[in-house]
């Protein structure tokens, strides 16, 4: 069972809708008990970084999620701000991130390209930079929906699995063992995103 962690933010319904379409067993939950029973975790997030961190920290779910991620090593996928939370912190706010990957979250550096609006809102092609179970059998020319003003900045390339181009190339997907993150929204990315969530729901690590 996939637990979609409900700590009070994010567009959880569309994630659930897509898992249902795939036929995956998923629930939206704000109960530690239910997370304990799950065999994989989806960490959503949307909006403001600090708001997300504060609510996650206050939800009483963090320790159970951490147990799943670090002790049981179950597959965990962060989406959008949910993935940014997995970094050490964000220029958007003051709260500490979870720090499960060697990256920060920074604002788009587009001062020299004023024609590019922030947030980057729309579809970008995925540039696969490293094998990942999430990329299995993706349809040709995979593209994904993005809506963000901040992006990951890794200390080195070892965990980066995918990039996109918006003014410059930047990392949009990562893997650190059982921990995965995507800046884009698979739940909103048609058949391309559906394949990613399907891969997540089936992957055996």
């Amino acid at each position: 069972m996939i637990a979609i962690v409900n700590y009070g933010v994010g567009n959880l319904t569309s994630v659930l809708n897509m898992f249902r379409r795939i036929g995956a067993d998923a629930v939206i939950t704000d109960k530690a008990e239910e997370i304990k029973r799950a065999d994989r975790i989806l960490l959503p997030g949307v909006g403001n970084f600090d708001t997300c961190m504060q609510r996650f920290n206050a939800s009483g779910l963090r320790s159970e999620v951490e147990k799943k991620a670090h002790e049981e090593k179950r597959p965990l996928l962060g989406i959008c701000v949910g993935a940014q939370m997995i970094t050490r912190g964000s220029e958007e706010g003051k709260e500490k991130g979870l720090g499960w990957v060697n990256a920060e979250t920074i604002r788009f550096q587009l001062n020299d390209q004023p024609q590019l609006k922030i947030p980057n809102m729309g579809w970008n092609e995925l540039i696969v930079s490293k094998e990942s179970p999430l990329w299995n059998n993706l349809p040709p020319e995979p593209r994904f929906y993005f809506a963000h003003s901040y992006h990951f900045k890794f200390d080195d390339e070892t965990m980066v699995t995918g990039k996109a181009y918006y003014g410059y190339e930047y990392p949009v997907a990562f893997r650190n063992g059982n921990i995965f993150g995507t800046q884009f929204h698979p739940e909103k990315s048609l058949k391309y995103g559906m394949k990613i969530l399907e891969n997540f729901s089936k992957m055996e690590l």
Partner: protein
């Protein structure tokens, strides 16, 4: 640099069915929204806008049951507008599976709702809609309540006001071009797009991909249309379609 411009079908909802208007009037029944959304999934539409276009003017509430059902079939980004008055309304729309709310009439009495929503869901989740018509003297003016409420605002000034109050995006619709297949009001698009930093979506009058390209050249970040996605051609029957041609900047 490769940048795919979003092409956005606008679906007008009323009493659970889909309609299409001409100049915001003469609503013509198009069909069932669920079937239509399924077709747009298959055709890989970039994004969908669902507008309960008379919800504010008719003082109806939001049809949460129907819009939840619609979102359940839509695997692309979804925005909803129509009858949103409070933060709680917006919250329920996000919970229904939409990532953006489109607000229009309410803004004339409550600009603060933008910040209320953006603080929790992010600026990218709040879209300001501006409906525009020329007055007797040929000046562009903003209208509320599905084109029936004259506000006296100038669209450029109003767009700046909405940006200052925190919208993440603006959709600008020409009432006079709506449903005419006469092309976008390029002057209007250009004036608004050049006066704000947030993305501007062009709407009202598009007949073909050429119109999209022109709007993008005038500064639109995304293009929206109704008639050309739901009719075969001007004056012809219903046919749901989506262009396979991409617009790359």
């Amino acid at each position: 640099m490769k940048r795919r411009v979003r092409i956005i079908p606008v679906l007008l909802l009323k009493n659970g069915g889909l309609y299409k208007t001409v100049k915001f009037k003469n609503a013509n029944y198009i069909g069932d929204p669920i079937n239509t959304v399924k077709i747009f999934n298959e055709k890989e539409a970039d994004e969908l806008v669902v507008l309960d276009f008379t919800a504010s003017a008719d003082k109806r509430g939001i049809d949460f049951k129907k819009i939840t059902e619609i979102a359940g079939e839509a695997f692309m980004p979804m925005s909803y507008g129509g009858g949103i008055k409070t933060f709680e309304d917006a919250q329920k729309i996000f919970d229904a599976g939409y990532e953006k709310v489109i607000i229009n009439s309410t803004l004339f009495s409550n600009l603060n709702i933008i910040k209320q929503i953006a603080d929790v869901y992010g600026a990218q989740a709040v879209v300001g809609a501006i409906d525009v018509k020329k007055n007797l003297f040929g000046k562009y003016k903003v209208y509320s309540h599905s084109g029936t409420g004259s506000t006296g605002h100038d669209p450029v000034e109003w767009a700046k006001t909405l940006e200052k109050n925190g919208v993440g995006e603006i959709i600008i619709n020409s009432i006079e071009q709506d449903g005419t297949w006469g092309g976008y009001d390029m002057t209007l698009i250009e004036n608004v797009a050049n006066s704000v930093k947030v993305p501007v979506i062009a709407c009202g009058g598009a007949a073909n991909v050429e119109d999209f390209k022109k709007a993008v050249n005038k500064g639109a970040s995304a293009v929206a249309a109704g008639s050309m996605f739901v009719y075969q051609k001007k004056g012809m029957g219903v046919l749901i379609s989506f262009p396979s041609e991409k617009i790359i900047l």
